[in-house]
Amino acid sequence: MEVRAQVSMTFHLDKCIGCHTCSVACKNIWTDRKGTEYMWWNNVETKPGTGYPSKWEDQDVYKGGWEPKGKSIGLKVTDKFRGLANIFHQPHLPTIDDYYEPWTYKYSDLFDSPAGDDQPTARPVSLITGENMDINAGPNWDDDLSGSEIYAKNDPNFAALSDSEKEALFEIERLVFFYLPRICNHCLNPGCVASCPSGALYKRGEDGIVLLDQNVCRSWRFCVSACPYKKSYYNWSTGKSEKCILCYPRLETGQPPACFHSCVGRIRYLGVVLYDAEMIEQVASAPENELVDLQKEMILDPHDPEVIAQAEKDGVHFSVIESAQKSPVYKFLKEWGLALPLHPEFRTLPMLFYIPPLLPVLGHVEKGNYNVDVENYFGSLDKARLPMKYLAKMFSAGDETKVREVLEKLLAVRMFKRAEQVDDIDKAEVDKMLEKTGLTPEMCEEIYRLTALPTYEDRFVIPPMHREYVADALMGDPYSFKAEAGIGGFKDRPERGL
């Protein structure tokens, strides 16, 4: 056992209202510079939908993540020798058109146009070339378009469904969508790090944040392909890649990342977990149906004296261990078993976990009334508008029982609270549900509180980052302003090379 700490995250999808505040908070801080306009380190997708970049989940095209090779695994996009042979032209690199061409409007035309009969318009101009352009893709281009033939229908997760099942989904009574906010997962087995020939990407030992050292990046651009979540981006202007930094400068001063802090639906939880680093390769190479369980298994109980002793030996600060004991992520993931990783089959061991959404159930129209007919409370899961198969494809490598388990628990908590507060359902029915899901009334109460009433301090349990140990070594001018100092380039201006 080798214990390491990881700042980890949970997103509660039932709570996301799709407002994109998170995306904008991030953009205003980190990606409002030239060459980064198209980047959304945080983005919110409508599911079913094609996402950003378009159809990013289709690894037959993008070649992100790992695949089994022999007893272990290898990167899909490259291996050590192919990497060097393909360096001059990387066969699977997405291009700007897979995202969208960023643009602005020529606002000056509104003022400078000669007087005439027509209103002047501000034409869109490309933020790359400055030329006039037609906009045919953009951020959140398929926002809320769940019934769309062009977008929703091409969702790669539908691969698990038969054609008739797919057709049925597009009936008007079944239309349904939910939001999927995404940031870098700060994986335990990151494809981005493993693919970089220069070794520019690295995981911080103390907190597991995955960063990209721009002074070492030489623009070989493998990380962009190897990240199956497409969360490493190429800055076409500086010739360096960039990625989500989990707002480490904020974390180091005790503040949650900007997207967490600004989240309107309060869906985001952050806390540290302890894990066994010796298990990484074994877990990442496991058969697909064991991936979720094994990944949970490698997350250690921070109350276990043995784990604590080993953690201290391995250099985890005791204040971080304390923080891990209060982590909301640990509770959702391990104590209650409510959270699942996104696409575990990519095998990067993502450390952002999702609580899958309880979907509306199917109904029918009778005499002008819209009726849903569910016999028992769990039955509604089978009548969910999106088939369980779809959610399973996203959150458990296709294993429906895992998603069902979580959703049953979520339902049980709802019914428990309803019985308590509205008192219109049979208590015996509730007890049966608790028994089946293994929840206790105390757990239900706690889940309810952390889901519906959490304070800022409940949602963000930020471990002390102990910069005092390194402050002297790393500190440049702390008062330098934006674009005067690079991200990761502490002294240099981030300018494009000759």
């Binding site: 032209h89 700007i96 220069s198 070794g199 995981k203 070492v216 030489r218 005791f318 261990i321 000759l498």
Partner: protein
């Protein structure tokens, strides 16, 4: 000092010294600017044809030059059999031609897309010109002055060594054809350009990747920290 004394006896030293000092300077003071400045993200299809032919061509040719430089005897020995001479000459010629086609494709590509114009610096334009001249004179030499692999080892290599050994022997190259002379001088000029262009990317070949472990973890300091537990 005659003009050719200067060009072949002094100019190379100017280029070499500037190249070494400036490359080191740039590396020490501005690591951020070391990059291949890939433009594949903006244009993918034409780059495939241009970049692949160019790099495989130029790297092959460059390797041949280096082998000839360090072990000229090996080339002369290889060329003792005419068949082997033909093989070497043909291979060299094909690689040179690949480089030439590659650089032409890359130049056309640069100026055929408005997106790429945005990321083409003046230094890029100078570099393309100089590289084009270099490869063109190389290919012309191969066409008009046959069996170059042999006389490269006989004339050019001793001259290059005379430069390295700080006793420049201009007589060795004074009477070579003009194309060859341009090729030599342009090569030194390229060396001079190295630190001032994207060419620095060839110095950062990430060969270490082959033996480094996949995952990279950076620790601030890792030691046992015993707490109150």
């Amino acid at each position: 000092m005659t003009f050719s004394d200067f060009m072949f006896g002094v100019f190379p030293y100017m280029c070499i010294i500037i190249a070494i000092v400036a490359t080191t300077w740039r590396y020490v003071t501005d690591k951020f600017s070391y990059s291949s400045l890939s433009s594949q993200f903006l244009e993918n299809r034409q780059l495939f044809w241009g970049s692949i032919t160019w790099h495989y061509g130029i790297l092959g040719v460059l390797t041949a030059h280096l082998v000839g430089f360090f072990i000229p005897k090996s080339i002369l020995w290889w060329n003792m059999e005419p068949v082997r001479l033909y093989i070497l000459e043909t291979t060299g010629f094909v690689l040179g031609l690949m480089a030439l086609v590659g650089i032409i494709l890359l130049i056309i590509r640069r100026f055929s897309s408005s997106r790429l114009k945005v990321v083409t610096s003046n230094m890029d334009k100078i570099l393309y010109t100089v590289l084009f001249i270099q490869v063109l004179t190389g290919v012309l030499t191969a066409i008009f002055y046959r069996w170059g692999s042999s006389w490269y080892s006989g004339f050019a290599v001793p001259y290059l060594w005379s430069i390295v050994e700080l006793r420049p022997d201009v007589a060795l190259v004074d009477n070579l054809p003009l194309t060859v002379q341009i090729h030599i001088l342009n090569a030194f000029f390229l060396l001079f350009l190295l630190p001032f262009t994207r060419l620095v990317h060839m110095l950062s070949v990430p060969i270490k990747y082959i033996w480094r472990p996949h995952q990279v973890v950076r620790w601030n300091s890792r030691k046992k920290i015993l707490g109150p537990f």
